[in-house]
């Protein structure tokens, strides 16, 4: 029972980490970044490089975030910016970009599945269960991430500008806010978060050039039902992630893996704004 509880909380935390970057970009730019999977993969390979250099596995995190930030900035400038007025095309172009990233990684690192060293190993006793330490650490990571994002949005000037653009871009621009800068910053930060997430999830599994794709669709659906709010993303990951764990456990893991996309699609049909307030 408590193991199930831990499964739910840790699964939600993982989804939260994976989807946060996509949400930031969606909130500000109203486009879905389908290169998100590519950025996750970049993070995974950043962790792989750190492992191969024999460095402390924790170093993978800043390394991945930096790689995501730089590549995200370039992508925003050259690919996303011309597509502001064409949101459907932006989805397609970023999907193409995901392919490009995957192929570049394949050429650089090979197509095979590789493994990353985990910063912590083994299980620890919690709530009377012996449970994976690393998954528990990810819960902490998700909480820290949410707190940091909230602090930036609430406490800094850029955060204020960002919130203004999220609410009403043309009004914000009318007030003299440089929305181009906000878009640029959001896309870069969103990409950095995606790569960070990639580095965080790889110790659980493995890295390969397409590792991001399965995560992309779940993250995409979670963001659609969360709208633009970090709080609703938290609710969405807990509800949908929890449903996934329960359906996997009591019904079938295969149906479990469908839970998020199907539930999210149904929720969006009934309530287009999802978990967000009207």
């Amino acid at each position: 029972m408590s193991a199930q509880f831990l499964d739910i909380v840790t699964t939600a935390a993982i989804f939260y980490i994976v989807a946060a970057g996509l949400l930031i970009i969606f909130g500000v730019m109203k486009i879905i970044n389908f290169a998100h999977g590519g950025f996750l993969t970049i993070g995974g390979y950043a962790a792989l490089v750190v492992t191969e250099l024999g460095l402390n596995p924790w170093l993978a995190l800043p390394f991945a975030a930096l790689a995501g930030l730089v590549i995200g900035a370039l992508v925003e400038h050259f690919v996303v910016r011309p597509l502001y007025a064409r949101p459907l095309d932006a989805i397609l172009a970023t999907w193409g970009l995901g392919i490009v990233i995957g192929q570049l990684i394949t050429i650089a690192f090979g197509r095979e599945v590789q493994f990353v060293q985990s910063p912590v190993q083994g299980a620890t006793a919690v709530l009377g269960e012996s449970y994976s330490q690393y998954r528990l650490i990810l819960v902490l990571g998700a909480v820290l991430l949410a707190a940091a994002l909230a602090a930036i949005l609430q406490g800094t000037r850029l955060g204020l500008m960002t919130r203004a653009v999220i609410m009403n871009e043309s009004l914000a621009r009318g007030l003299g806010i440089n929305s181009g800068l906000v878009r640029f910053a959001s896309f870069s930060v969103g990409s950095a978060l995606a790569s960070l997430a990639g580095a965080l999830i790889t110790p659980l599994s493995s890295v390969d050039p397409n590792m991001g794709v399965p995560w992309l669709v779940n993250a995409f659906m979670l963001v659609l039902v969360s709208g633009t709010s970090l709080v609703s993303l938290g609710i969405a990951t807990l509800v949908l992630g929890g449903a996934q764990v329960l359906i996997s456990a009591y019904w079938s893991p295969i149906l479990g893996s469908l839970t998020i996309v199907v539930l999210a699609a149904v929720i969006l049909r009934i309530r287009p704004q999802g978990f967000a307030r009207e």
Binding site: A3, F115, Q117, G122, L204, S206, D208, V245, S248
Partner: protein, 388 residues
């Protein structure tokens, strides 16, 4: 096929004419097609398979090839799945005109490739252990089937370790289900109890839900049969992460993969027809040659790559016996010839399958495998009673 191509050369275009002319100059090579999972689930082991095929081809070419013709290796990525295999088999058989296919693949890829093999009518030596009972007039297998492999692990768990309850976990495809089908029946026949049997898709990397079920069932022993490579490693990692302490028999792990998992692999029981520690002159010779050829690039030879090496030599013997690369005589000869390789003398004489010496081993902390028991010439049982 060549006749048709030649007849139409005028319209096929300059490129084809040049290609034909070029191949006519050198002694026409014998092309060995190797469709293998360079990407996807099998990508962890595929490079070692390609390496051992390269060694066999180089050795044979250094000694004058087969019937005076050099061997030429054609490798194609099958993506470890059915869709990729279709493209790889099509390309190898119809584009590269391979004379024979010799390779280790997932069961999904093999099944998808067999109809194409039947259409192209080329011999196919399958060098991967698998769930058994795949029968085609063009197919030979020189690796183990469950009838040879499952008993050592289950017997050891029940007799030596007193295990009574089992939990089975597999990848949801032909190999995973086939192996565990056999295992379940065997355990039940021996009086053991199955507490649960769960499958995840072949490319699954998240085993959380299944591990929860294993933990809840709390079995004495766990037997897993996943796709080789990535799913296997992630399952093992996550099992260790979850602190599952049951006896752990892994039907799909090879020595190389076990080494790649590091300390997570410690304590896993495996049953194999090849281990690097086999103490025979042929094995030592093979390992030395591999080390010399690949140096630092060497991937640990294993239970999937060594049968590939032997497969190439078995094909050589068959072509030499048949004095031709024509399919019918080679197919006939393949059952009759034998080759002494790192695993001992291999002959695919039992309904297209081979009796093998099996080893029960346990992975140690340093990634090496300690042999606990060995079983001589285990018979593959009735695999393809309709084929001789």
């Amino acid at each position: 096929m060549n006749v048709k191509l030649g007849g139409c050369a005028g319209v096929v275009g300059l490129g084809a004419i040049l290609a034909l002319a070029a191949s006519a100059l050198a002694a026409d090579p014998i092309r060995i097609g190797v469709p293998v999972g360079l990407s996807g689930a099998n990508s962890v082991v595929a490079p070692s398979v390609v390496q051992s095929a390269q060694l066999a081809v180089d050795e044979i070419n250094a000694k004058g090839g087969i019937l005076g013709r050099p061997l030429q290796l054609e490798v194609a990525d099958d993506g470890s799945g059915a869709a990729g295999a279709q493209k790889a088999f099509d390309s190898l058989i119809f584009q590269k005109k391979a004379n024979a296919l010799i390779s280790m693949e997932t069961s999904a890829a093999r099944n998808a490739g067999l109809p194409i093999v039947a259409r192209g009518k080329v011999p196919f030596i399958y060098t991967s252990f698998y769930e058994g009972r795949s029968c085609s007039p063009y197919l030979y297998v020189d690796a183990w089937v469950p009838d040879q492999q499952v008993a050592p692990i289950v017997d050891y768990f029940m007799q030596k370790k007193g295990a009574k309850t089992f939990f089975l976990v597999g990848s949801d495809y032909a190999f995973g289900r086939g192996m565990l089908d056999f295992t379940r029946q065997y355990i039940q026949k021996e009086g053991g109890k199955i507490l649960g049997e769960e499958y995840a898709p072949m490319d699954a990397t998240d085993w959380t839900a299944i591990i929860s079920k294993v933990r809840a069932a709390n079995p004495d022993a766990l037997v897993t049969s996943t796709a080789g490579g990535a799913p296997n490693v992630t399952l093992t990692k996550q099992l260790r992460g979850a602190g599952i302490k049951a006896l752990y028999g892994n039907l799909a792990v090879d020595e190389g993969t076990a080494k790649g998992m590091g300390t997570d692999a410690e304590g896993i029981y495996i049953s194999a027809s090849y281990l690097t520690s086999i103490d025979s002159p042929k094995n030592k010779e093979f390992l030395a040659a591999m080390k010399k050829k690949f140096g630092a690039e060497l991937k640990t030879p294993n239970d999937l790559s060594v049968p590939e090496y032997e497969g190439v030599y078995l094909y050589k013997a068959a072509v030499e016996k048949a004095k031709s690369t024509d399919t019918a005589p080679v197919i006939k000869a393949l059952a009759e010839v034998s080759f002494e390789g790192p695993r001992g003398v291999i002959q695919m004489s039992k309904q297209r399958h081979a009796p093998l010496t099996m080893y029960l081993g346990q992975v140690q902390g340093d990634g090496s495998v300690k042999v606990l028991e060995s079983f001589k010439n285990v018979d593959p049982g009735d695999q393809c009673p309709n084929l001789k």
